[in-house]
Symmetry: C2
Subunit: 213 residues, 2 copies
């Protein structure tokens, strides 16, 4: 895999010990998230847009309205950067300088292309849906031909990517450890609350098991 030997563009320059280029690490981070930030350039101006994604094999799928500027731009095969960030905690050091965050992130570079065939499009939408809420796809009305037409699906080969991870307690200057300042990690995670039913829920529709904690 290309990311086992990072290119000059994906090498983690700062704090290289935090860099990780193994496919296993990169895929584990991608699989633990479902929201990415996609970066692309229009007239020299970078744009960064949040969007859902799904991974299947060595391909990352994005989707959106066929009318979306981002999707239309990316489908043209321009250079894109897709970044996935999982925030795991705030690292509280004894000095302001050594404060940090614990996180897992992946930065992917490449060029996207449009998925055109309806069957492949539907399969990709299923991948994205299952990445966000596993089990949901089987329950819902599937896309019609017209809905597929209104949906742009992009695929991006996962070829040039790197992961960056920070874990563990703060690393303070040796002389600061004696300070009477609380230090450690405040763990953070995205948590789901109780499902909120649609006011127009059909009588008898029950909260599916995949939404329960």
């Amino acid at each position: 895999m290309a990311f086992d030997s990072p290119t000059s563009r994906t090498r983690v320059n700062r704090l290289p010990k935090r860099g990780d280029y193994s496919q296993k690490t990169i895929y584990a981070i991608l699989d633990a998230g479902f929201l990415c930030h996609a970066g692309f350039v229009v007239d020299g101006q970078p744009y960064v847009i949040p969007t859902g994604y799904g991974r299947a094999g060595d391909t990352l799928y994005l989707h959106g309205s066929a009318a979306s500027r981002m999707l239309r731009t990316l489908a043209g095969g321009v250079d894109v950067c897709v970044t996935v960030t999982l925030l795991d905690g705030i690292v509280l050091a004894r000095s302001a300088f050594h404060h940090s965050m614990n996180y897992r992130s992946v930065v992917m570079l490449g060029k996207a292309s449009a998925v055109e065939a309806d069957a492949e499009k539907a399969a990709a939408l299923r991948v994205i849906s299952e990445q966000i809420v596993r089990g949901r796809w089987d329950d819902v009305r599937k896309p019609t031909a017209q809905e597929l037409k209104a949906t742009a699906v992009l695929k991006l080969p996962i070829e040039e990517a790197s992961a960056k991870i920070r874990t563990g307690p703060p690393l303070d200057d040796e002389e600061d450890y004696a300070l009477n300042v609380w230090a450690g990690v405040l763990p953070l995670a995205i948590r789901a609350g109780e499902p909120v039913a649609d006011p127009r829920l059909a009588p008898g529709a029950k909260v599916p098991k995949y939404l329960m904690k």
Copy 2:
């Protein structure tokens, strides 16, 4: 404010009813987060990097190592896009097509510049620190002159920005409301867990109140 009348670059093109350009809305979203994704271009390639930020008045501050590629690039006054995304929930519709997410996001465009003076740098670092954990700055050892030198701080005027917000239940096609499919919102939020003390914590250092729920 410039964002009260969006430019062609910040106008929300898709689903314009979700666009909001008021300063109040934009600042409320910026103030509710502390992690952004900064996009910039090097040799035509967009990069998207997660980083902490803080807002003071009409200025957004970013910081990082003086050796960081991102910080050095941005300090050169290149075009940057800073995006803040707060994910509020997954919107589960009766049809695959109408699934969505509830979120609040801000997209900011501009050019950053380096904060050079030590006093302004320290003040900006305080802003960022307080945005991440309010109350922390007063407890910790402040940056030395050497640490300030090793830290790059950037300021970005909040001039060209837009917010995008989705709230509420799914919007299904009328004929789908009769389907016996559970629909609604799965609320999501970043939650803090119990603080984890540094193994080398000084005896007597107590968990500060600002970390308690």
